[in-house]
Symmetry: D3
Subunit: 282 residues, 6 copies
Amino acid sequence: MNKNIQTFLACEAEYEAAEMVLFGVPFDGTTSFRPGTRFGPSAIRSESFGIETYSPYCDKDMTEHQIFDGGDLELPFGNTERVLEMIQEYAAQILSDGKRFVMLGGEHLITLGAVRAVVERYPDVHIIHLDAHTDLRTDYLGESLSHSTVIKQVWNLVGDGRIHQFGIRSGEKYEFEFAKKHTNLHKFDLGGFSETIAQLKDKPVYFTLDLDVLDPSVFCGTGTPEGGGITFKELMEAVLQLHQLNIVGCDINELSPHYDQSGSSTAIACKITREILLQITK
Amino acid sequence: MNKNIQTFLACEAEYEAAEMVLFGVPFDGTTSFRPGTRFGPSAIRSESFGIETYSPYCDKDMTEHQIFDGGDLELPFGNTERVLEMIQEYAAQILSDGKRFVMLGGEHLITLGAVRAVVERYPDVHIIHLDAHTDLRTDYLGESLSHSTVIKQVWNLVGDGRIHQFGIRSGEKYEFEFAKKHTNLHKFDLGGFSETIAQLKDKPVYFTLDLDVLDPSVFCGTGTPEGGGITFKELMEAVLQLHQLNIVGCDINELSPHYDQSGSSTAIACKITREILLQITK
Amino acid sequence: MNKNIQTFLACEAEYEAAEMVLFGVPFDGTTSFRPGTRFGPSAIRSESFGIETYSPYCDKDMTEHQIFDGGDLELPFGNTERVLEMIQEYAAQILSDGKRFVMLGGEHLITLGAVRAVVERYPDVHIIHLDAHTDLRTDYLGESLSHSTVIKQVWNLVGDGRIHQFGIRSGEKYEFEFAKKHTNLHKFDLGGFSETIAQLKDKPVYFTLDLDVLDPSVFCGTGTPEGGGITFKELMEAVLQLHQLNIVGCDINELSPHYDQSGSSTAIACKITREILLQITK
Amino acid sequence: MNKNIQTFLACEAEYEAAEMVLFGVPFDGTTSFRPGTRFGPSAIRSESFGIETYSPYCDKDMTEHQIFDGGDLELPFGNTERVLEMIQEYAAQILSDGKRFVMLGGEHLITLGAVRAVVERYPDVHIIHLDAHTDLRTDYLGESLSHSTVIKQVWNLVGDGRIHQFGIRSGEKYEFEFAKKHTNLHKFDLGGFSETIAQLKDKPVYFTLDLDVLDPSVFCGTGTPEGGGITFKELMEAVLQLHQLNIVGCDINELSPHYDQSGSSTAIACKITREILLQITK
Amino acid sequence: MNKNIQTFLACEAEYEAAEMVLFGVPFDGTTSFRPGTRFGPSAIRSESFGIETYSPYCDKDMTEHQIFDGGDLELPFGNTERVLEMIQEYAAQILSDGKRFVMLGGEHLITLGAVRAVVERYPDVHIIHLDAHTDLRTDYLGESLSHSTVIKQVWNLVGDGRIHQFGIRSGEKYEFEFAKKHTNLHKFDLGGFSETIAQLKDKPVYFTLDLDVLDPSVFCGTGTPEGGGITFKELMEAVLQLHQLNIVGCDINELSPHYDQSGSSTAIACKITREILLQITK
Amino acid sequence: MNKNIQTFLACEAEYEAAEMVLFGVPFDGTTSFRPGTRFGPSAIRSESFGIETYSPYCDKDMTEHQIFDGGDLELPFGNTERVLEMIQEYAAQILSDGKRFVMLGGEHLITLGAVRAVVERYPDVHIIHLDAHTDLRTDYLGESLSHSTVIKQVWNLVGDGRIHQFGIRSGEKYEFEFAKKHTNLHKFDLGGFSETIAQLKDKPVYFTLDLDVLDPSVFCGTGTPEGGGITFKELMEAVLQLHQLNIVGCDINELSPHYDQSGSSTAIACKITREILLQITK
């Protein structure tokens, strides 16, 4: 007679034994358009029952890896700064225990909390950022902590030339101008991704995946669907290169499961999460 | 760093310490119309986060009780008889450990598995049955094990005068005629419920609640909504009398959460589950 | 090896043998707010599989009656007047063959086509009208043929004192003033229904049921849900009196099934259709 | 050729000419369970096209009143305190111009911003509060500004005996104990409402309506549906007494329209808003 | 204190100052399959809040253009010919004021009203038509004014060789045969689009975009989804050539927003509308 | 006055006259994840009204063919083996009458019943299998008759080298290893399809199409959406080669229409069904 433990697909290791930690951050407090990414982590966890542990893409199996699933952080609603602190503390603990993590969002701002912890430990970290949006606003209606300012905030921590953006197809004019000077921006698709992988091979890398980089045809379960995105196969091709990198932290964000009642966006997120874990877990 | 344990609302006792056991049976294999009650138990568990542990109806709190949540049985799809055996074994174990249980469905046929275990231990058990449908068919398209034959199957085990049916408003003509002779049938509403409670006070009772006894206005998230049902307040009035009985087993079934995208049927099921647990747990 | 004949619940008589004819009019061409009642008749037909042929309310069974289901009229979209002619012709044929009919809508304007046929044969016909709305507008944005003018149009045919309205809780001020002078209007509920039944016992009666007379809690699958309606039980109590009347034609309209994804509104419409057929078919 | 001005049902007065001001606050930043009340005000405004300007309940017409619709406040996401300030400023301006207001939520916390403005001008104001939940928590996961603490926060401003709560059926144990000492709490229904109206006739009153006081059968389009609520007719009976009071401010909150895809919750909110405006506008 | 003016994305010019006029025609009166395009214009307008004013595709910004949004025409339901007259009058007024327009549907028949006005002023106009369907029927169930006859009706006005059809993948056999003789039909995709652009450079052009030319994977929110359509990127490539033409009028039609509950079809329509406006506005 | 006969798109031949038989099997009894394919056949039938009888892809028209639509088998719920027998009997009858068939699922296990009948008559039959999943499990939670074991079961009947799998992108490791030895497995896409067609030209072929071979962007209305599938155009290219084969039986399965509320998956299934019928009917 056992209690009901719910983890992502075969992530059943104990914390101590695990090399990789999965955890969720059900936060959507600064979402300006359609909220609901708070339901992302639990949807990914519970729907992972519908996919296989084995990947025919890389011929690996989740059951062969030691991954701990720490569940979701319990967050104070309406206090953005405190949420970021909680993420930072949790991530810092994992890093100080010599482990790495995949964080499931929630909205994109959560990346800031994780990067704060990562930068402290790896000051020379590079950021690979897949997204439909630049996320380089200075503020959003006066607030500097927002899903649409998060990469600007990360830039404040890491500086010029350390952020590599792909798939970007939306933003204000001044954001694109900022990117020209301060980040490595690749518009519309993943052109240049392999080259970036090659350049960053000996560096610590943080990988942040805003799932709305996918075309809405593939992934409509998100707050701000933006036409003209990449295909699933294009994303998979990129993900299958990740094992070449030293990824010290990672997040997968912006699944808003209720907006895709077919469940297909959640299934896509599950599969991408599986593939990323198989790529970056030793 | 803890694993993600998911239980119904404050049901966090260990099995040994618990007097009451909650478990789910995500089975809908004989559902003839619209399937989906398989999603019932997990929906009730995860949405219970949205309600309070305290009941202003009976002034009790879930945190004051020792209830174990055993999660869901893992079932073989397409093998009805084996599913019933698994339920029976699980229920029998609980009873033999001196505990009682609340089983979350799933479709109504699961009651048969539980009653088989109960009858073995309490041969004189009475059945209180709230439902929109008689469930007294002999067979359904040739199958004698079906959600629409389950009470007939239970009658095979307990015999005349031991089944007390309430709220019934649908069935074939011959089912109503059978009921006249063999069960205590109360058509349309809960008229006579208090009298039945009074009569059964010193007997072991199994309580089976098909949530479609509620009017579809209250509870549309079910496979076969049937107009003309009872109100939430009427159901609550009945539930609040349950502490007067010696309930040795109980089930709450036929929530099909996807059919009510407002989530309100699931919220109703959560609240009723809380109230029943508070009534029958010492 | 038989073709796939789809009829409403056990309405399997041949036309010649039938005393009662059921047919659908999937028209919503003048719907001003949310369209979709065109899907009503086919939804009622296909979902009738989910209910029983036997009624415990009146102890009758659909299998004991000879009812022909003629399917749906095939309508020219965008030509309101032609649609009304087609209804009138179809209804007139049924009446001239000595039969009666239940017409499934579709929007409420279809009543006008049917009443035109009925009035020709029964010039002294009375109209019993259950609805949330008066439907007594003179015109709607310049159009005199509209779902919101239909009872006014019927009044043009039958004149003062012949229309008996129940459940009405919405309309323009001038419509209520018109009703005071020209119809027997019962606001908000079914108060006075039994008295009306008693008065009309020896007269031909046309019964038109706009299902939005029901409260949206019971029946949200309609174009213009209007709070404060009657309950299912109140409607059933009225329906169960219909056998006292000489009903020469009848319609049940304004189910818009897509707006209630739980399917519960459609199930309600099926059950009401069954009960009306059992009441008025000999 | 005119611009597209969108107002609630016939609220077409200019600000200067208006005695009553309607405005929306699309805020759901502290919602702990299911977000989406941010879509409430615009849904109420755009769906008001589906109802009539005339009320047969009170025989008044919206076209006879001078009401200004100021649209929605544009809010900074993620900054709860700033949102409250903006509400307070907007409400204070209306009051200082000698007008009154109806505020459309949004989540319940917005009441605090409005009451802050009201208390400044009317220190002796009484609060009538209809809700499923006590909203008397001290904090929610550490945050004292939350939808579940709002009435406690209001009590901080107005003190003992000035808050009159109705329909309450959910909360933590300590909240009910607090209520016993400090507010006039009416559990489960509107019992005592007329008496309260009578007592408060010569006092300034702020009326806050959390629409989840309605039963989920009537109103499932809300973040936390709670079974056992009041009916539409019960709510209407209460609303129809409001003209007896001196209401200086009012809010109607917690419509989360996406959770009721039938649109019926939004239609209910529209109708209640119309009736409240007709009651309290001179 | 301002009224609530709702316009499409930064279309805030006054009529007099504007060079381009946007207006909506919420008409779906001849839709034969699934209605709901009546909700298109308001959905495009209100959801445009979710996209940026800046286009990284053409490096232009909506804030730099003078566009007037005239809202939606208020239409008489059930009177198709009158609707076409109203469109024609509105469009003629715009043209006679020396302006051009983008009309948002609504169903495809509305094109006929606009083309009537355009042909009067520009008798030598060419029509570029992107669609899944030929729309060349002679009549539909007897009606010659229908969404499936509209291009045939336009041909009646402009004659042979003036209609350029792209993306067509559905129709009756006789429609394809008609097209062979009378229009320039490009089956299945946009092959030949650039050549057509080149040919028409010095001619007045009317551009009509039935959004169902897109594959349903990209755009399922439409009445008649038809597999095998073009991708978003293919459509964008075509749109980005439009500045080479002298477009005197344009429409974007057949968004039926309720059929895509993810909102992604509406977001696509918003983005395409933005890009078309940026292309054709000086 | 005719009864309401509902057939798939112009399949109106009598059985005797027909060369091809269409029938539905609304079975989803072993579905382990999300049920609902039971609604597939009737959805395909009723929504076929929305597409044309003519195919511009192959320039043929459904009205020129003699196809009988036998409706759906009426199945005993909960008895998997009996369902397979009923399918086998029905298929055997068709074959023995010198006809061929297209069977509409339902879940994939139904293929086993049909192949049993086919193998008896054509012992040298080859199987072409398009699917996202290998379906080669030995058992699923102990059950050897399951949607995920069906091709393994078929292999038991036909043996090595007779099964040709395409599009496969999911399965357990041991299933892929089994495929390496016993079937002709083409991973991820339709590579090699034309070669297979060429090889099988003079052999009897059974064609089984699990629609989840399509990418979820195209076809999300299925129980287990699996990212990375083929496009509609790729599937059409394959289908358009089928006339080169001697197809003696065929099935199209795994449409679960309720999971795609846009209706677009059903429309895709209708179109594919039309094209397959046009390809394989003489």
